[in-house]
């Protein structure tokens, strides 16, 4: 029975596609028996079963946590870098305490395109939170503390004395000026591992800037300063400038994510050294978005050092590998990859079956027979032109099936809704849904470290209303009693979350 729906605003359309009316996944994943058949195809049934038995995602929550007992403070605003670092540790079971000012981290309130209807709501208070913030607030505690007051700082120091790691993301020198930077805290807690995460650096001629009015530098400044943007995107020979043929930033705050994970790696290495490798003391670590990102831009700067080459944009093609690109099909894009001879000839066999021309022009071209010589620009153009000839009449699914038959690394370019429905991803799964106490139905990206045999990373809760854990954490670790807490709340130094249970 179709119900008549009248659409007056965007908010009306959202009800139609809401999760309540749209099951996820729409198509159930294949059963374990069906997947066993896939393992058998390459005579790996026994091994496949062993992996499923030992790495099964849904068993994550009944296994121990690798970082149980490690306490972490996460203090900073606006950015995802320190939040991602905190998330990685929190997923492994560390007790991560996010310190926010009483009015909250501004990132809490940033809705995509400023649209209120894209904000998640706390069921008890109606307090709104940005999906971006929510997604990185996994397994964390929210504590509010006004660090601009003397008393707030004293409490912060007490907390800092009891923790193992601090991830800090304030402008350079800000915490030091307040008397709660590494310099001061390392004297209270010599075993403290203090990680500052920024965009350009806290020292040096181009250190992080703050505008005249106090606005911070945020990603994509890191992407811009690392050369990432200059080298990403289509060149004007392929698309007109201003119409897609420009240097392009990542859709996500990728420099923040890169800095965050390197901060986590460095902090964990420092922790290992401190506890198990004779260090017995903490240290100061600095990670920046721009440097963490150019660290992973392959050979680019080395190439400049080699012969002053300035790497240009090459769209979705790769200057170093052939084939290694996505090219248009009938219903989107198909990525095909394979560099070594083994894979190169398999791709060719697969395409040649439908398109004999491809065999004549590609397989038999003497210049294309040598692995490195295939990367010359004219060879890339030739290969991809002919590949696209084959692709353009078919859909992604058909092509993927054909290529996988030849064991070729190939996959369709998927949009988020397609990713969430792709059978393999649903089976494992890669995105998962949590029924959160405060925010209800939340879909999240599963931690890539969830597939550990003994200590998988996991998401236990997602999001936290502002100040939900202020009382508990301060009572437990800052030596503050209930009376003092009430006084602090009255003076606005902390904010304590008070749910209204009648709302639910």
């Amino acid at each position: 029975m179709a119900e008549e729906v009248r659409i007056k605003s965007r908010a009306d359309t959202m009800k139609l596609t809401s999760y309540e009316n749209r099951p996820w996944p729409v198509t159930p994943p294949p059963s374990r028996e069906e997947v066993m058949k896939a393992y058998e195809k390459r005579r790996a049934a026994e091994f496949g079963k062993w992996c499923e038995d030992n790495l099964w995602f849904y068993d994550s929550w009944n296994k121990p946590e690798a970082l149980r007992g490690v306490r972490v403070l996460e203090v900073g605003l606006w950015r995802l870098s320190h939040m991602f670092a905190g998330s990685i540790l929190a997923e492994f079971g560390a007790e991560v305490i996010k310190i926010e000012p009483p009015e909250g981290d501004p990132l809490r309130y940033l809705a995509p395109f400023g649209r209120d209807e894209y904000m998640f709501e706390d069921v008890y208070t109606g307090e709104k939170v940005s999906p971006e913030f929510l997604h990185e607030m996994r397994n964390k505690y929210s504590v509010t503390l006004d660090l601009e007051t003397e008393e707030g700082r004293e409490i912060y120091k007490k907390l800092a004395a009891t923790v193992d790691i601090i991830f800090e993301g304030y402008p350079p020198g800000y915490m030091d000026e307040l008397g709660i930077g590494y310099r001061q805290l390392s004297q209270i807690n010599p075993r403290l591992i203090y990680v500052w995460i920024g965009v350009l650096g806290q020292w040096g001629p181009w250190k992080d800037k703050v505008s005249k009015f106090g606005q911070w530098m945020l990603d994509p400044f890191g992407q811009v300063a690392s050369g990432f943007v200059a080298k990403t995107g289509y060149p004007p020979d392929l698309l007109d400038r201003g119409k897609g043929g420009d240097p392009t930033r990542s859709g996500s705050w990728i420099a923040d994510f890169t800095a965050g994970e390197q901060a986590a790696v460095n902090a964990l290495a420092a922790l290992y050294w401190r506890d198990y490798n004779g260090g017995n003391e903490g240290q100061f670590i600095e990670v920046t978005g721009s440097e963490a990102l150019f660290e992973i831009l392959d050979f680019d700067l080395s190439w400049y050092g080699f012969n002053e080459s300035i790497k240009a944009r090459t769209g979705s093609w790769d200057p170093c590998l052939n084939q290694y690109a996505w090219n248009p099909c009938k219903d989107g894009y198909m990525m095909i990859g394979g560099q070594t001879d083994r894979l190169w000839y398999r791709i060719n066999m697969c395409i040649e079956r439908d398109l004999p021309l491809f065999g004549r022009l590609i397989c038999e071209d003497p210049k294309l027979k040598e692995v490195a010589a295939r990367n010359a620009l004219d060879m890339l153009i030739k290969t991809y032109t002919l590949t696209t000839m084959w692709l353009r009449t078919q859909n992604r699914v058909e092509v993927e099936e054909k290529l996988l038959e030849y064991d070729i690394a190939a996959g369709p370019l998927l949009f988020p809704d397609e990713v969430a429905e792709y059978p393999h991803f649903v089976y494992r799964p890669w995105v998962h849904v949590i029924e959160d106490e405060h925010y209800g139905h939340v879909m999240y990206a599963v931690p890539p470290n969830a597939y550990h045999m003994r200590t998988p990373a996991r998401v236990k809760w997602i999001g936290r209303p502002l100040g939900k854990d202020t009382a508990e954490i301060l009572l437990k670790y800052a030596g503050i009693d209930q009376w003092k807490l009430r006084e602090l709340e009255e003076r606005g130094i902390v904010k304590i979350y008070r749910p209204n249970f009648e709302n639910k």
Binding site: P30, A44, P112, Y118, E177, V224, P247, E295
Partner: protein, 470 residues
Amino acid sequence: MERIERIPMEEQSGPRSREELEANKMPYEEFCRKLFDVGNEFSKPQALKGIRWLSCTMYIFTPHMVSNLAELGAEVIKIEFPRLADPMKHTSPFNEAYVYPLHDDRPLSGQGLGVINANVNKYFITLDYHRPEAIEVMYRLVKMSDGLTECYRPGTFDKWKISYRYLMEINPRFIYVWGGGFGYGPKVFGGSYDILGQAHAGLASITGFHEDFGGFPVKHTNWVIDWYSGTLGTAGILAALYWREKTGLGTMIEFSQVMCAARCIGYTWPLYGKWGIVRQRWGNWDTLLCVHGIICCGKSDYPDSKNPQLRDEARYVMISAFKDEDFKELCKIINRMDLYEKYQKHKDRVEATAQIEIYNALEEWARDKSRSEVTKILTEAGLLAMPVLNDKEIYESPHFRARGTIRWQADPSYGDILVHSTYSAGLLSKTPRRKYWDARPVGADNLRIYRELLGYPMSTIKEWYAKGII
């Protein structure tokens, strides 16, 4: 009268020595510079000293997962197939740039730039796992190592009897990492690359300009997602190591690279999950903040250069003025106070249609300016702006040079190389990362490992060599 108790020196607050007093008085920047002591990394301890890791890896993703450990002080042995070795060595941008070992003039010993930075500080040995002799060698290595990372198709190591099922029996403390595309499930044998992860996990679909603006999904410049995933894998290894020290138990880690790309696209998932809204590409602007985007200026900074990367491309600038006062100031500078009147609240100016209007106005204003002029005007007004830097400008930047994150290094095998990795992954004050060498030629450390570590006699090693096992 109040009694003043004598507090022992070490319990008193404040500096405990003259050095500490001076450190406390120092300006903060100088304190940081002194503490990180760039250029003096080799004299400090290593965080992961004593850890030995086997790296049966190829390409970028898994080698980088391990090279993070090697930079932090672990001893890493990279095992390659004889002859072909890591296919990445035959990879170079447009087949142009190769480096050659200083003491080896065989014509094919050159190494493409493609492999640079991914195998830092590793020992290079060769071994053909197919041969029955190889299993014994692998078992010996496993008994004296802490872990292994491999990247072969699932089941391959199992077929060779060197999967975790077998290795946990001979070394229960062993940590085994498989890194690849998909992991268990229906597409278990699907191979993967960096670009495949970007395409498959939705990252590409939200990067680039929207169709309405003439754009297509854009690939992150090469292999960023491979590298990024590798680091995330290192975090997993370190967590497992930490837990092993407590419990004495190793583990197996199945690490899917494609999944990592799905992890870094933030609000995409909650938004889709709850309301079915599919996040779209938004080009060089930001979906959460405005003004916070990259614009194109009319004039180039290097109009006379022969290199098109300078002459034509050095025209883009990042402008950020999303707070109310910043936005007001920006509107004043470009003489469009009407925009400020119209979009006083951030919530209003970050809406899609408002962004189009505002950025168009900015590009209009920048039409007769170069990006350095734009940066200068805005910076002098106290706002945040920065040109989109290219490799030349990053190389010449005094900032990265002073921080030691870009430096020339004399590689023992390949000579002078401009290094932009390792040191840039983070400064650590007490156990800094360091690079001893970038890579070594194929099989360079066969003798060191087989003879000196595993104790095989020279005659056996020669025999293996003749048979093509190593």
